[in-house]
Symmetry: C2
Subunit: 419 residues, 2 copies
């Protein structure tokens, strides 16, 4: 149970110095530490605001420093440790931008360290009152799409850039006919002169609204409105006015204040894209774990968050993907869970369904597949059907090849390497 007056962060650190003294240096740097005595400071005053080392667990020694630039003498043992720090909430108040400066400020640059990674954060209830969290999340997204008790099946408009509004709408028509639940813009496509946002929304929603009139089920299209704040607000209003049901923003492009302000304005779910995430996480002894990172953005208002996918074209291993996705479904506060929908993407096909379901333990997920759907030998409708069937098999605990015996779209997908 977290102290309601403090916030906490877990780190993996690496140092050639004494780990306890290094932990103390970090705690000092990120709170009331000073390198030389300063006029006016007193022990009481420093204590009031000090960061506290709540845990420090030594891990294995390593042969060589993970990151360059650390101060070490020849022969120093390099140790890794797991550390938990906590701070008084009164240092910052319940403010996400100031939380970032405190848990992830200058500390990564300290030359006592040859590695530092933030693994998790825990926030007191005051943060739940200060930010909206996801306004739609899993239930709101299910209501808007009419998809219940199974994963949402989605795809991405490709090529990323190059299509104009008419070509995007034509592809959307094909995908609607195929029975898709969700379509998203590529993160590279927002409002360039080559494919203006308003024109794209009007052309696409014309297709989707007509399809919804016919089928009674409205395909959710996440329009990428990433841009300056006034642009994002105006673009959101265009989507809303045209009957659209989702907007998308790149969290590393707009940043925390952009996300907070967007979420204060929206009346639609926010599909949060994490492109750029690689530079924040790829080195295992630097930066952010998604388990920590995604909490910040959920609290700010993200309804859907990307987690890569099993067996993707990216560097990330499956264990990490599953941990990220499970984190998205793990409540943040007892009375305000802020759960968001995890989005699996990148090279997703029917083959990943059993592992994805087994790892997540839930059908509360959105899988977006490109080639995995449109390259089905019998066309996109069969591609969508095959993906649904793959998850039916996963939920039933039946191996795909066995389930495929009386599910032809799945059988045909399994015959084909690309789908």
């Amino acid at each position: 149970m977290i102290d309601p007056h403090r916030f906490e962060a877990d780190y993996l650190l690496e140092t050639a110095q004494d780990p306890r003294r290094t932990a103390e240096a970090i705690a000092g740097e990120q709170s009331s530490g000073t390198f030389v005595p300063v006029p006016g400071e007193t022990p009481e005053l420093k204590q009031r605001a000090a960061a506290r080392i709540d845990a420090l667990e030594l891990l294995a020694a390593v042969d060589r420093p993970s990151l360059p630039g650390a101060r070490a003498s020849a022969g120093d043992a390099i140790r890794q440790a797991r550390m938990t720090l906590s701070w008084p909430i009164d240092n910052i108040g319940p403010s996400l931008p100031n939380l970032m400066a405190t848990v992830a400020g200058n500390l990564f640059e300290l030359n006592q360290l040859s590695g530092l990674r933030i693994l998790d954060i825990r926030l007191p209830r005051a943060f739940a009152d200060a930010y909206s969290g996801p306004k739609f999340g899993v239930p709101g997204t299910r209501d808007l799409t009419g998809v219940h008790e199974r994963p949402l099946i989605g795809t991405i408009v490709k090529p990323s850039v190059g299509f104009g509004p008419a070509e995007t709408a034509a592809l959307t028509a094909t995908l609607c006919e195929a029975g898709i639940d969700f379509i998203k813009d590529d993160e590279l496509q927002s409002d360039g002169p080559g494919c203006p946002f308003d024109g794209r929304v009007r052309a696409v929603m014309d297709v989707i609204n007509r399809d919804a009139d016919r089928t009674g089920k409205k395909v959710m299209f996440a329009f990428n409105l990433t841009g300056d704040l006034d642009q994002m607000r105006r673009r959101h209003d265009v989507v809303l006015e045209c009957g659209g049901t989702c907007v998308m923003a790149g969290i590393n492009s707009v940043g925390m204040v952009g996300m907070i302000e967007l979420a204060r304005h929206t009346q639609l779910p926010i599909h949060a894209h994490r492109n750029g995430w690689g530079y924040l996480t790829r080195h295992p002894l630097l930066g952010w774990s998604y388990v920590a990172w995604q909490k910040l953005w959920r609290l700010a208002g993200a309804d859907h968050m990307h987690v890569n996918g099993l067996g993707s074209k990216f560097f990330e291993d499956d264990e990490s993907v599953v941990a990220s996705a499970r984190a998205c479904l793990t409540p943040m506060f007892d009375d305000k869970p802020c759960v968001c929908l995890p989005v699996f993407s990148s090279g997703q096909t029917v083959r990943q369904a059993p592992g994805t379901y087994a790892g997540l333990g839930s059908v509360d997920l959105l899988v977006t597949a490109g080639g995995g759907i449109v390259a089905h030998p019998d066309g996109p409708a069969a591609g969508v059907a095959a993906m649904r069937q793959a998850y039916e098999a996963a939920v039933a605990g039946v191996p795909l090849d066995q389930f495929a015996r009386d599910h032809k779209p799945l059988a045909r997908a399994l015959e084909n390497r690309a789908s």
Copy 2:
């Protein structure tokens, strides 16, 4: 000369695969590439939006992959290369958030790569029209502080947190009497209940305004207003109303949209703090070079930007610090230079002055020293005088110990390890 219709980015990449094919994969991922043929795509349409490889220079082979998770076979040579890509501006329009998604989106995660770092970017003139750039920069900061033809000498309120408004004002009074040019909040101090922003501004500006009435020179205090957007705007207005001359924001805390919106509102210079920068840059084969990064924030409106300091407590080497600082003073566009004031900090004393001046080749800099000023054996006034004298010596090309013979504050500082 950059093509006015394209933007460019330089990268350092590392791969165990064929570097040319890897470069093509990156260019495809970040523009019109698709992994399988998609309905509606044509060669013309893909070509219109494609990223182009403008340069690819092979560098040395390396023994082991810099980052884990790359796809390689045993015995594959691992090569580094320097690559320049360019994109049509029509893909995104002159939009900073969408620029980030394009030059620094999913590419860092690709498993063809065991390293990718963005080294520089070059933007066409359209970006200069879309964003304000620094409204004050070097000349505006000099006008507000009355400091000309020499570096600005500054310091930081320490301890970072723990002081209330009265204690901060008392320290400010001491520093004003000492003849300081510039004071900044610590990046951990914004508007926590322990030191409310409004109370701090009123208490501090009361001291500074009285000092300015007496001396005719107003000390610039960078109040850290980092927070949600409405908070930042309101806090800026409080500073302005109280006669303050600078506000500070953490760029990695507020993000790009936060910075853009803050800059649209401000009537005061923005002191841009880069805390968290370590997680973006510390691995040499991952993330961002500051030469690229600082351009984004200058264009968005940063007037002052942090660059660490020579011989600092951080991991960064002096060569990198100097390159960052020189970049801040290098014009971005012929008719709109967007030059900002580089801020040297972290463990700065008189001893770094000659190297700093020699590296930068300019007195257009702000040096912030904590212990380097307040721990002077004859007190803070002597500490400020010593720092000014150290830069006078540097500009005159006279070694510090020689200059110190008839400059007592400098001589006393050199006797003392901490100052």
